[in-house]
């Protein structure tokens, strides 16, 4: 069993924080198939958040195929987080480094480069946002 925590200043929606903590726990091996997640009632009793927030996070995890709700028993881990290929990570780190160097060569400051990166991540990865 894991315990959720919240970072109110993160700007990340509460349900998404819960989803990410389950992802992380799976990646770290803290949660494995067969393990039970805390019930919505347990989560709201410790975090003082709206129960629908917990249910929404669990629904998202269920859609991803990571958990399954068994009525009357609880919500159980049934899947594993696909871990990306380490060699793919290395490859993208390398091409990112090349990109940063070419940006520096073009005269962009570190701050500008970070701003471009952040904007691009937000535009490409944030769901629902414009």
């Amino acid at each position: 069993m894991i315990e959720f925590h919240l970072d109110p200043s993160s700007g990340v929606a509460t349900y998404l924080q819960l989803v990410r903590q389950v992802h992380q726990a799976l990646q770290l091996g803290l949660l494995e198939p067969g393990d039970r997640l805390p019930t919505a009632q347990q989560v709201v009793a410790s975090l003082a958040i709206n129960p629908n927030t917990v249910l929404k996070a669990y629904r998202d995890l269920e859609r991803e195929g990571l958990v399954r709700a068994r009525p009357g028993l609880g919500t159980f881990i049934v899947g594993r987080v696909p871990r990306s290929d380490p060699s793919a990570q290395a490859r993208f780190r390398k091409s990112m480094a090349a990109w940063i160097q070419s940006a520096q060569a073009a005269g962009l400051s570190a701050e500008e480069i970070e701003a471009i990166y952040r904007t691009a991540v937000r535009d490409c990865l944030t769901e629902g946002a414009a």
Partner: protein, 298 residues
């Protein structure tokens, strides 16, 4: 499903002063509703109308499909906690529970006894000697043990320290999760409301300035930052809520169901607090924000 609260052109007048006017609201059942607004905005008036402590001067209000306060059956369906968690100072904790059992047809004595034990309250202690947090928890226990379908709480955590406040909200959310009871809760503490509420009602000067599902409100509002320009030039599907300008830059808060297509804007999401503050200022300053200010500078 019946709504928790339906108000149509609801108004309440004290002498010449309208504490609440033209209030039209439709709040779905089973939600946790945060009621916010400046002091004197009409929050307590609305809550008192919702539980039948006041009669409307205009319009209508229905709670759980019934006119509030019209009989014992209606009264049993909602639980009300007035400001400052009142109790009877000279009665003991145990006598409060006994009174709850006598007065409420659906009284859940098992829950009340368990809850009081969990809180570590002594049944023989007089309510007047409890701490503020304990008194609030006792009052909440009574309101929950009557097993209402809707809990109406007027600033329940205003006078509590941070720990007591968190514990109060934990209890409340646990009950919502376990019994699906709806809640209408007024508070100035927007950070608390952001955690617990899924529906927001903002009152300013006796009128509804904003109401809706929190998630939908957050998804449909954007803060736009870009080069200075006239806010009147925004697309017709965007409603301007607030604008501010420097010599070079314009910052807008807009409401829209469509995407932000203009690449000149950097769009960022807003928080519940951003919305509450922007709509409070908008209601205070009138509904045409800063347009005249821009004309002068140009």
């Amino acid at each position: 499903m019946t709504s928790a609260l339906e108000a149509v052109s609801l108004g309440k007048r004290y002498g010449h002063h309208w504490a609440l006017r033209a209030c039209t609201l439709s709040i779905p059942a089973g939600r946790v509703v945060g009621l916010v607004g400046p002091n004197g905005a009409g929050k307590t008036t609305l809550l008192h109308l919702a539980v039948g402590l006041l009669e409307p001067s205009a319009g209508t209000i229905e709670v759980l499909g019934d006119r509030p306060g019209t009989g014992p059956a209606t009264l049993a369906r909602s639980g009300f906690l007035a400001q400052d968690s009142p109790g009877y100072a000279r009665l003991t904790v145990g006598q409060h529970l006994q009174m709850g059992a006598w007065l409420n047809p659906r009284w859940d004595g098992g829950f009340a006894t368990r809850r009081v034990a969990d809180l570590g309250l002594d049944l023989r202690q007089r309510a007047g000697t409890l701490s503020g947090g304990q008194r609030a928890q006792l009052a909440l226990t009574l309101a929950i043990a009557k097993r209402p379908e809707l809990l109406v709480l007027d600033e329940p955590v205003a006078s509590l320290d941070p720990l007591a406040r968190r514990e109060f909200l934990q209890t409340l959310m646990e009950v919502v999760a376990a019994h699906g009871v709806g809640v209408i809760l007024s508070s100035h503490l927007v950070a608390d409301l952001e955690r617990v509420c899924d529906y927001l009602v903002l009152l300013v000067a006796g009128r509804v300035a904003l109401a809706g599902d929190v998630e939908e409100l957050l998804a449909s509002h954007h803060r736009l930052v870009g080069p200075r320009r006239d806010p009147a030039a925004i697309p017709s599907d965007q409603v301007l809520i607030e604008s501010s300008h420097t010599e070079k830059q314009t910052t807008l808060l807009v409401r829209t169901d469509g995407p932000i297509l203009d690449p000149a804007w950097t769009a960022t999401p807003v928080t519940v607090e951003d919305l509450v503050l922007a709509y409070m200022r908008r209601a205070r300053d009138g509904e045409a924000p800063a347009a005249s200010g821009l004309a002068v500078v140009r």
